[in-house]
Symmetry: C2
Subunit: 325 residues, 2 copies
């Protein structure tokens, strides 16, 4: 299988490297890391055993050409570049798999390419790009695959089998939309409040922007859960997201919030991706992780006061960052 | 009432001028027409009697300041400018009324400002900007007002009364979303096929892009209805849009398509706004009129083969235009 990886940060590089290892012809589309990857490959540090992947390193999509599978690992803040980056890779048989965070990514792809070629993959993984061409796998790695707005096909299961062969735990969801909402139950509080924490609790409850930037550092999962006020906001947000999912017809087990909080306690001091983005001065994935879910909540007629406040605080922080950047 | 009008093309200028006439303090935010409007006002040519409106002519939103009502008449292709153009006009009591075409405009506003300040107005009107500061009213003018994702309030009715006082027929919808879908039943075929017609019937049925640009002119409403093939595509698209609306829970009377086609025959050779945009080399309102409705169709699980084809042809024509422009 010929695989193209677009968006070779931690996520795209990690899964691309795993698939490369099982013998697929794998091409990475690279910008800043191109010279390093071309010369030295992609180093994956993982408890299961470090390895170096040697994918083809391309600087333009035209060098890669039409693929059987395109993995998209771009930050969703770069989705406006789909039309520029993807067309040379996509033929009439190409599967287009977005591994990106949140809502709207499959829809954006289905505007540019036939909807029936679009799949989504939800990644439950802790990764970090520690240097150019060097990715550290901190834990987990499970992928949930699904088809865009339809039940899984034979090809979905075949693709899951390829991931499994590459050492990646992979399951198939019968409803990708529901799977997205289930993941948002975790992502919205831990990605959102972790960043909102820099503004301080008072700013969050008052819905006001922070008076100064970064008065406190971002709050990793353990600090959010250790503070009774933040922990109750985590729980409140989870309940809001579950209520929206229910209104949209997605049955998510009622003990999901409890189980997630319990599992997260076991993760220690984990810094969700949005915290890493924020601390690096990169734009937040506001649209896919927060604003699109809030639009859906409104359309469904579900009140989400905590999510509203979170969106306001994050938008304020993101705008300040952009002004400074 | 202090009124700010943002997007002073034919639509914003016309309704802004009508409201100015009843004595409201009215400000137009202008770019290219600023000098003309400042010197000579806005000339409205209408069968009911020509008049010249003398709104305040501003070049920046800061000159206008906070308004009681903001009318938005921008092309939806300029919605990315909301965040730059609107904040100086919006206070905590400001009503924000988008008069724009299609889906997603209220949602975009509700991302930037409190959702409860957002209203939508659907304009059933034939207008033309014939020269800078000169608007020709060709017919109709009815506005349907509604609240964003909630039933009408007392203020909605009060605002409708202001429009009526300004000589504009204005009704209040109990469900703005349904009203949008009802309008799309007309807009999608007549705005869409009118432009797709330049590619020729063969290109439309084959789903292929046209081999050359503008082989035939755009097709106004009478030409679409006079050709049995296009007329059947008009009807087919109407049925698709009605099916999506029904799947979304919007009850639209079953004779809507018949009535609209009948009424449209009575309009003669009307050139819907998208045709005018296309012929002027301006970008098409693809997002709000075609792509967002198609996304909604997919989410609702309704097959829309004609709309899919229309989106592909229009996107192709729009992209060529942009390349040439």
């Amino acid at each position: 299988m010929k695989i193209g990886v677009v968006g070779c940060g931690a996520l795209g590089s990690y899964y691309g490297a795993c698939l490369w290892r099982t013998g697929h012809e794998t091409h990475f589309l690279l910008r800043s890391d191109h010279a390093v990857v071309r010369a030295h490959g992609v180093a994956i540090e993982t408890a299961a055993g470090d390895f170096v992947a040697r994918p083809h390193a391309a600087q333009t999509p035209a060098e890669i050409g039409v693929c059987d599978l395109v993995l998209i690992g771009l930050k969703t803040t770069a989705n406006h570049r789909f039309g520029e980056l993807l067309p040379p890779l996509i033929g009439s048989q190409t599967l287009i798999l977005t591994l990106q965070n949140g809502l709207g990514n499959e829809t954006a792809l289905a505007r540019l390419f036939p909807a029936e070629q679009v799949l989504g993959g939800l990644c439950f993984v802790c990764l970090n790009r520690v240097a150019p061409g060097r990715i550290r796998h901190l834990g987990h790695g499970h992928v949930v695959l699904g088809e865009y707005l339809r039940p899984p096909l034979e090809r979905t299961h075949a693709l899951a089998a390829e991931f499994e062969r590459a050492g990646v735990k992979c399951s198939v969801s019968d409803n990708l939309e529901r799977a997205h909402w289930e993941k948002l139950v975790w992502n919205i509080p831990f990605n959102g409040l972790g960043v909102a924490g820099v503004a301080g609790w008072e700013a969050f409850v008052n819905g006001a922007g922070p008076s100064g930037l970064a008065r406190t550092p971002c709050l990793p999962t353990d600090e959010l859960l250790a503070d009774a006020r933040w922990a109750s906001a985590v729980r409140g947000l989870m309940n809001e997201v579950l209520a929206v999912a229910a209104a949209l017809g997605h049955a998510i087990p009622s003990d999901t919030a409890d189980k997630m909080i319990e599992r997260t306690r076991g993760m220690g001091a984990y810094r969700a991706s949005t915290l890493v983005d924020f601390e690096r001065g990169q734009p937040l994935e506001l649209e896919s992780l927060f604003l699109a879910p809030r639009d859906a909540a409104r359309q469904a007629g579900v009140k989400t006061p905590l999510l509203d406040r979170l969106c306001a605080v994050l938008a304020g922080l993101d705008a300040r960052r952009n002004l400074r950047g």
